[in-house]
């Protein structure tokens, strides 16, 4: 009946064991019908109507876990803009009344195309067992059936993993719900998150949360100004910039241990760090005698290498996923523009040619696009272009929006938006938003404090 899989986990993260639920009859029937699928490559997608029933449980505790999990799954899928969870008040068949196979007619009547059911159970060793099934209502087939074992406190993560599983089964693309975001939290205009000091006048702290804004916690204590965190694609590490000791330098922060370490021994300010996609190199800028150039630091050999030597400002470097190219921002031509060069610093060519200034290029994890910030006529924009500079599209615009970061599947961008500040210092709220690559479905990511400089993690290990 069940096949045990073991997902790789680090010591500090809680294990989640996965079992495949097989329903032989239904699996066989599934091949005969047209597949239920969302094509997310089209410009505008009509959200797929889906019923996410309350996950049932025999005891009060189990029922509470079940309801919480199904709620998080519904929120994840709804926020993606690709799914429209049906109102549970319209449901004809109750979750409790569903045995192993639902009455599909009851679900077709309320116009849902996909149905999710599940169960939460606390097993003898105290772990939480959560099973779910995804049904194609019209083909009357099971599309996914899985069970997970984990410690009860980890229920939220299981919900994100289930949402990812549903997303992947119905879109063909990897999901991005079981991810985190590292960002800079700061005191808000309303006075929330107080913590300013003379050395850190906005109280900026390194913070981390789940992609949906939950499980927020601070990683630094606010004694030093910190900026521009970025996730390692391979390890539980963040590279960021700190003014610790009033010397601005690039650091690495280990999320599991809390250990912080300066990156390299450079004679000037190091800033704008970012990992290569293999996680083995940090690329960043170093400013010396007023001039900023781009350097790499090999994290194993600790050898640094200077890649640019131009007298212009060269900053915001970002590796391509294959590690062969680097996109960066330079004003060597007079004003900020985007450039691409080979990983050895050769073959520099400008790729941005539109009106205005261009900044913060970030290569998509899929390799097909570069996201950027654009400044034109006193307005800021978030946009994307192909690595050769063609196909520029602007997705969002405001007084100040900046710092796009990619979801690991390359379909969604997150960035921050800062409102105008009044002369008395009020206003100026800074918040995080996501938007689809299509330019649709802009959503705020709620944070308790003001927030900026988001960086999306890869899928959690």
């Amino acid at each position: 009946m069940s096949l045990m899989n073991f997902m790789p986990t680090s010591m500090a993260r809680r294990a989640i064991h996965t079992c495949l639920l097989l329903l032989g009859l239904m699996m066989a029937a599934g091949t005969a019908n047209a597949e239920l699928k969302i094509d997310i490559t089209r410009g505008t997608v009509e959200p797929l109507p889906i019923a996410i029933t309350k996950f049932i449980g025999d005891t009060v505790d189990e029922a509470n876990y079940g309801k919480s999990i199904s709620d998080v799954i519904a929120q994840d899928l709804e926020r993606s803009g690709l799914f429209k969870p049906a109102d549970s008040r319209a449901f004809i068949q109750s979750a409790e009344a569903m045995s192993s196979v639902p009455r599909f007619g009851d679900w077709r009547v309320i116009d849902v195309q996909a149905l999710v059911q599940g169960r939460a159970e606390i097993v003898d060793d105290g772990r939480l067992r959560i099973e779910f099934r995804l049904w194609d209502v019209f083909a009357e087939t099971q599309m996914v059936g899985l069970a997970y074992f984990t410690v009860p406190d980890n229920w939220r993560r299981v919900a994100h993993i289930i949402a990812d599983s549903i997303y992947k089964r119905l879109t063909g693309e990897d999901g991005y719900f079981d991810t985190r975001v590292v960002f800079i939290a700061q005191q808000s205009g309303t006075g929330a998150c107080r913590g300013t000091t003379p050395m850190n006048p906005f109280g900026k702290r390194l913070a981390i949360m789940d992609q949906d804004g939950e499980n927020r916690r601070y990683l630094t204590d606010g004694s030093s100004l910190v900026l521009t965190p970025r996730f390692s694609p391979t390890l539980q590490e963040i590279t960021y910039m700190s003014y610790h000791g009033n010397v601005p330098r690039v650091y690495i922060f280990n999320i599991d241990t809390g250990h912080q370490e300066v990156v390299g021994d450079f004679p000037g300010m190091t800033f704008s760090p970012r990992f290569s996609y293999d996680g083995e190199t940090i690329i960043m800028s170093m400013a010396k005698d007023g001039n900023s150039d781009i350097y790499t630091l090999d994290l194993r050999t600790r050898e640094d290498k200077q890649l640019t030597t131009h007298s212009g400002i060269d900053t915001s470097p970002s590796f391509s996923p294959d590690g062969k190219f680097i996109a960066f921002n330079s004003d060597r031509g007079g004003a900020q523009q985007l450039y691409v060069m080979s990983a050895n610093g050769k073959n520099v060519r400008r790729i941005s040619h539109g009106k205005g200034r261009y900044a913060t290029p970030v290569w998509s994890p899929r390799g097909d696009l570069i996201a950027f910030t654009k400044l034109q006529s006193g307005r800021f924009f978030i946009g994307v272009m192909r690595p050769d500079g063609s196909g520029e599209r602007l997705l969002a615009e405001d007084f100040k929006i900046e710092a796009p970061t990619w979801a690991p599947n390359g379909r969604v961008l997150m960035y921050f938006r800062k409102d105008r500040t009044n002369d008395d210092g009020s206003g100026g709220r800074s918040r995080l938003f996501t938007i689809d690559l299509t330019g649709d479905n802009e959503r705020e990511v709620t944070t308790l404090c003001d927030a900026s400089d988001p960086a999306w993690s890869p899928l959690n290990p």
């Binding site: 003379p198 050395m199 006048p201 906005f202 900026k204 100004l225 900026l227 521009t228 009033n246 010397v247 601005p248 000037g268 300010m269 800033f271 704008s272 800028s285 400013a287 005698d289 007023g290 001039n291 900023s292 400002i313 900053t315 915001s316 921002n329 004003d331 004003a335 900020q336 900044a359 913060t360 910030t373 400044l375 006193g378 007084f399 100040k400 900046e402 710092a403 800062k418 105008r420 500040t421 009044n422 002369d423 008395d424 210092g425 206003g427 100026g428 400089d453």
Partner: protein, 169 residues
Amino acid sequence: MRLNILGVVAAVALVAACATDPEMTSDTEGDGASSEASSSSAPAGIMPGSEADLVVNVGARVYFAFDRFDLNDISRSTLERQAAWLKANPGVSVALEGHADERGTREYNLALGERRANAAKDYLVALGVSPDRIRTVSYGDERPVAMGSNETAWSQNRRAVTTVAGAGS
């Protein structure tokens, strides 16, 4: 104009002609508006060679145009007074802080602040101040002195500030 005493007088005249210069606004530090090149007239209670002496009697700030780091005549005259003051107070080391307004991306602003701090440092060194006495640090747009999202505030934030080492800004 370099090292030309008359240049200071000319700079004072320029203040009146430069409507967009932040020094036209109510700047309590009086930089640019004063032609005093030393701390000889320090008010009672201000220690010669102190941070307060620099701010009140010399002028600690120089300002820049949008996305620029070149020094104008007013900035040069302020730095000439700073150089004279540094020579009169040979035991003092300073930090030159470079700042940008909010109309740029964070990382570019850090680089721009670094450029501005170094432009001011280079001029002090050209005037004979030892580079060993001057540390530079960029804060990008992280430490605005004026909060508003308007040109008046932005012009005050595009600056390089000389602070007595250890005194902070």
